[in-house]
């Protein structure tokens, strides 16, 4: 279990993490979601004791990271930035880490095999592709067979096969009762991996709920209707409790009413319908909508992208 309480981190006068509190429970995959620059990596660095917060603190299974007697045996971490000396082989990188924890050499071969790097174990890490580097990082995280895993953007640079592999690995690890905390800026990736979501924007908590709940809550349903008699139809819908948000050229955008009900209303009043289409905003849209206020680096076209469906 990971607990963050009131974490704040400023770099100069820039606030990266802003009074952030949350709990990550064991036995499930918890997605840590936010746009680039939202403070996800910083939060992970604070939990791992690499950076010091200005306020608050974070504990893992009730202890500060720096107080863990053999930290890699409790917590495994994959950080976004590379943490490997380019001149050292994959094997030796894992070996020196294993030695600090008194972990057996056999375990090094085992994790290399597990992540599929056993063939290149004696090659220098400087020559590794992004995906291989990522696999080495995951091997390092699994080295101490930890009960808690923090993975910062683990699918970065992985090919589709690698993405599926890491997805299944995380689910398996969670099923074994471990705490899995995984960050991503890709909503769709999280939708298929995470059981629970912690969403942040500009360092502040935006949502903390199950993935299903998040999807339900934040994807808006609407119905697209085309009719030669839009005004009468709009009146009937409003009278029955629906909302007409947009009307032009005989097209209506109706919210808070199911498509079946609209069809029934039209039939009752003898109104002709040309089209009746239920629509659901994509998860990506919902995420954009939710974090729009808090996007750090917005492109000039950001607005259009966000409203486009």
């Amino acid at each position: 279990m990971i607990e963050a309480r009131n974490l704040t981190k400023r770099y100069g006068d820039k606030v990266a993490v802003d009074h952030l509190s949350f709990t990550v429970e064991p036995g499930r995959v918890t997605g840590f979601l936010g746009p680039n620059g939202a403070g996800k990596s910083t939060t992970m660095r604070l939990i791992l004791g690499l950076d010091r917060p200005q306020t608050g603190d974070a504990t893992i299974n009730g202890r500060h990271y720096r107080d863990l007697p053999r930290p890699l045996r409790t917590v495994g971490a994959l950080l976004e930035a590379k943490a490997v000396h380019t001149g050292r082989t994959a094997y030796n990188h894992l070996l020196f880490l294993a030695q600090t924890q008194g972990v057996d050499k056999k375990r090094v071969d085992e994790v290399l095999h597990l992540v599929g790097l056993n063939e290149v174990a004696r090659k220098r890490a400087g020559g590794f592709s992004l995906g291989m580097g990522q696999r080495l990082g995951i091997a390092a995280a699994l080295l101490g067979d930890p009960a808690v895993l923090l993975l910062d953007e683990p699918v970065n640079g992985l090919d589709p096969q690698g993405v599926i592999w890491i997805r299944n690995l995380m689910k398996q690890l969670a099923a074994e009762g471990r705490t899995i905390f995984v960050s991503s800026h890709l909503m769709n990736e999280m939708a298929v991996t995470a059981d629970h979501l912690i969403v942040i924007g500009r360092g502040k908590l935006v949502a903390d709920c199950s993935t299903d709940e998040f999807i339900d809550r934040s994807t808006e349903r609407s119905v697209f209707v085309r009719s030669p008699d839009p005004d009468r139809l709009a009146q009937a819908i409003v009278a029955a409790g629906g909302k007409v948000r947009g009307q032009s050229d005989g097209q209506l955008d109706v919210a808070e009413m199911e498509s079946a009900r609209i069809g029934e209303l039209a039939a009752a009043d003898g109104i002709v319908l040309h089209e009746l289409t239920p629509r659901r905003g994509s998860l990506e849209d919902a995420f954009m909508e939710l974090t729009r206020e808090s996007v750090e680096y917005e492109t000039p076209a950001g607005e259009e992208v966000a409203t486009h469906d």
Binding site: L50, R52, G102, V103, D145
Partner: protein, 276 residues
């Protein structure tokens, strides 16, 4: 994916990581980067080679050497023999000392190191023991090697033997000087954290600024020069105290040690405090 994540039993254990584990780990770090290994081999070969070359040149140009220079060499042949090679090896040790810590920062590997040792200072301490120890062993070996190459070459002009007063201490002192210099450079590397800047700083100070301090006028200038870390430190490589040396060999080495310990204390303080 049905493969088990762990078949080797890893005991989460409450036992704290021992310092022995960290020494082993730092030794693995040191030996597993090829450039470090090669630098050390080249250092040994070049130092021995240059000692032979410069001692031979001294003998060849003996007749053209003026009387006072000859007197200096005869008074302390050990210093002459060791000095020629050590000018080169101290350059290599400065670079290596900075690299063993600064390269962790430049490659980002420091994050992996600190996640493994979140108390931080034991990692730096283990690094100092392993690197300092290696340079000491290598330095003493190179120092004896240089002496046994140089002494026979110089024998006809300025005979010297290990049993002469102060000679054994000076030869071992050559290794002691290099080991302390390695830690001095390591401390600066840990404080500065940028490889290029730290190397420039250390070499600029050791090879240029410190010797230049000799030119400072008057007795204050002499004292400043005498107490500079490397200038004081290399007195340990002289068999006899020259008339114008303010400090004895061991006093000089003590001054160098105090500088180094001070810098390591600053490095440790900053390591504990700074974001990694």
């Amino acid at each position: 994916m049905t493969e088990a994540v762990a078949t080797t039993r890893v005991d989460p254990g409450e036992k704290r990581q021992g310092f022995g584990h960290l020494l082993l780990s730092e030794w693995t770090k040191l030996r597993s980067v090829r450039s470090t290994v090669w630098s050390l081999i080249i250092l040994v070969v070049l130092t021995l080679g240059f000692t032979a070359l410069f001692t031979w040149l001294t003998v060849m140009s003996w007749d053209q050497t003026n009387a006072s220079d000859r007197a200096t060499i005869i008074a302390d042949p050990t210093s002459q023999i060791l000095g020629s090679g050590f000018f080169l090896s101290q350059l290599a040790i400065c670079v290596l000392g900075v690299m063993v810590i600064a390269s962790e920062y430049s490659t980002g590997m420091i994050r992996a190191s600190l996640l493994a040792v979140p108390k931080r200072w034991p990692m730096l301490a283990a690094k100092c023991v392993v690197f300092g120890g290696l340079v000491l062993v290598l330095g003493v070996a190179v120092s004896f090697g240089s002496f046994f190459i140089g002494a026979p070459i110089l024998h006809n002009k300025a005979p010297v033997s290990l049993s002469d007063p102060g000679v054994l201490r000076a030869v071992i002192g050559g290794g002691l000087y290099l080991a302390m210099l390695g830690l001095f450079a390591l401390a600066i590397g840990a404080i500065v954290r940028h490889t290029a800047a730290a190397i420039t700083g250390v070499i600029g100070f050791v090879l240029v600024l410190a010797p230049l301090a000799q030119l400072l006028p008057g007795s204050i200038g002499d004292h400043i020069h005498a107490y500079l870390p490397t200038e004081a430190g290399h007195l340990i490589g002289q068999a006899t105290q020259a008339p114008d040396d303010l400090l004895s060999p061991w006093e000089g080495y003590g001054v160098f040690a105090i500088w180094t310990i001070g810098l390591l204390a600053i490095a440790t303080f900053l390591l504990q405090r700074r974001d990694a």
